[in-house]
Structure formats: C-alpha cells, structure tokens
C-alpha cells in the first residue's frame, strides 16, 4: 500500500504546484477562489498522506524540486485545461488505493477520488468543455 500512498502523495504535490500556476491565469474572482479552495484541499490531503506514510514507517520519495507541466499554460483557457488534467490525475492516484485498503480507509480514498472527479466536472463546465463527465473517473484513459 505504501507504493500507492506515495503515488497519491506525488499526485497531490503536483496538484498543489499546478494550482499555483492556474491561479495566476484565472480572471473571474469566483474562478480564483475556486482554485484557491482546491489548492487548500490538496494541501490538506498532502499533509494527511505524509502523516499516514510516516505512520507506516515507510519513506516516500522526496518531492521533486521542480515540476514539469504537461503543457504550457499562458492564458485562462490553458489554466482551466490544466485544472481538469490535474484533477483527473489525482482521481487516478486515489482510485488505485481502493483495492489495497479496506473499511474507512477505502471510504476515504473513494471520497478523494469522488471530490477530484466532481471538481474536474466543475472546471469543465467553467471552461465550456463537453461532455462534463467521464464514465469511469480515475480509470486511465
């Protein structure tokens, strides 16, 4: 399970970094506050993951000093596209924790998968992207 936890940690770290870039390019105050709220949520999950990995006395690979974005972000459109991409990636990382967890821990992982999937849907709506949903959130496409 520590391998999957480490992957989830990496995804959350990447999301925190990406939301910093996304926030710069968003324009509406509603969009900016949504991005800020998302970043805080990803920070909280990152902290919880660090604690959990620590609890298991496992060591996660240290976070890379710099992240490479999957594509260049220069405007609002790119920022919204990155937000969808990031949430889809986080959803994938939590989904693989489902088979290696049980009970409440699995429910927590599912809750994070679901949150990211719902957030991706909101970003798609703001970006005017359709369809708003995918059939299997978290399944690599």
């Amino acid at each position: 399970m520590t391998e999957q936890l480490a992957a989830a940690l990496a995804a959350e770290e990447a999301a925190i970094y990406a939301y910093g870039v996304i926030g710069v390019h968003l324009t509406g105050s509603d969009e900016v506050s949504r991005a800020r709220a998302a970043e805080l949520e990803h920070r909280a999950r990152r902290d919880a993951l660090v604690d959990r990995i620590d609890e298991l006395r496992a060591s996660a690979a240290p976070a890379p000093a710099a992240y490479r974005l999957p594509f260049e972000v220069t405007d609002r459109e790119g920022a919204l596209k990155l937000a969808v991409h990031v949430e889809d990636g986080v959803a994938q990382a939590w989904r693989v924790l489902l088979p290696v967890t049980e009970g409440e821990e699995r429910i927590d992982a599912l809750s994070h998968l679901t949150d990211s999937a719902v957030r991706a849907t909101r970003w798609r709506r703001i970006a005017g992207v359709t369809p708003l949903t995918i059939a299997f959130p978290g399944r690599p496409g």
């Binding site: 959803a91 989904r95 693989v96 489902l98 088979p99 290696v100 009970g103 699995r106 429910i107 992982a109 599912l110 998968l113 679901t114 999937a117 719902v118 991706a120 849907t121 909101r122 709506r125 359709t130 369809p131 708003l132 949903t133 995918i134 059939a135 299997f136 959130p137 978290g138 399944r139």
Partner: protein, 155 residues
C-alpha cells in the same frame, strides 16, 4: 398476568423443541437429496439494476424534453457503459440482466428527479465499493464517483 406469562413460556418451549427437531432431521441427511438452493444474487446486481434503470430514466426525460438531449445523452451513455462493465464482472448479459419491473411505463421525470436518483445511486455504489473484494473495488469506486459527477452536472 401470571397466567399469560406461563402460557408464553410454554409456547416458547414448544417452539424451541420444534426447532431442535428439524435441526436433528437435517443432520440425519433427510434433505440431502434436495437440489442445491439457487445461488444468492451477485452483490453487484443492485448496481447493475440501478445503472439500467438510470439510463432508462434519462431516455424518458429526453423523449419528453428533446431540448435536453445534448446535455443528458452523455450521462445516459455513462450508465450504459457502467452496465456493460458490471454485466461482464457479474457474468451475465445486459439483456438478461434488465430489471424485472418494466420501467418504460413510468412517467418521465425532470432533471431534479434525475439528480435525486443519482445521489441515491451514488450511496449504493459507495456501499458496494466498501464491501467489495479488492479486485472489484475500483469498478464500484469509479461508478460511485461518476454518479456524483452526474449530480453535479445536473445542478
């Protein structure tokens, strides 16, 4: 009151005796020749029934309000994709897995009733994910998350 209590105690004793008797009979192998009871339904069957019922609900709303087709059709397609995967995991074909209650006669709902149905169905999928063996947890989990995104898309 005392009398009533005695009567109850006696009937309870009789009942216990009867139960013990049938247990003894079963132990003697009297029922061994009976055919195997039907296997219990697959724990994912309710998820499959719901996926098909939801897809049909969308179809009815779209038929009643064609202007919603562009918005609702992709959601109905998600449910059909769920049904296909669930049927494969359960080991049934979707046609034979159709819910026994004919849904086509039900009145068409609205996006609000669809949203409520999605929220209820999400709960079913969360419970199924929690109870699922490891190899089925990801399928139930993705279906639960998808149903949540549908509720969001219908806002």
């Amino acid at each position: 009151m005392v009398l009533t209590g005695t009567v109850l105690t006696t009937s309870r004793r009789i009942l216990l005796g009867a139960l013990a008797g049938s247990a003894a009979l079963a132990g003697c192998g009297v029922f061994d020749g009976d055919p195997e009871p039907a296997p219990p339904p697959d724990s994912f069957q309710p998820l499959l029934d719901e996926a098909l019922a939801l897809a049909a609900s969308y179809d009815r709303v779209i038929a009643a309000q064609p202007a919603l087709a562009a918005r609702l059709t992709p959601l109905a397609e998600d449910h059909r994709a769920h049904a296909a995967d669930l049927a494969r995991v359960i080991g049934v074909t979707v046609a034979s897995a159709a819910p026994s209650v004919p849904v086509s006669s039900a009145p068409a709902g609205t996006t609000a009733t669809l949203r409520k149905a999605e929220q209820a169905a999400q709960k079913t999928a969360v419970a199924a994910c929690k109870a699922a063996p490891a190899e089925r947890a990801m399928l139930a989990g993705s279906i639960a998350a998808c149903r949540a995104t549908h509720a969001e898309a219908l806002r």
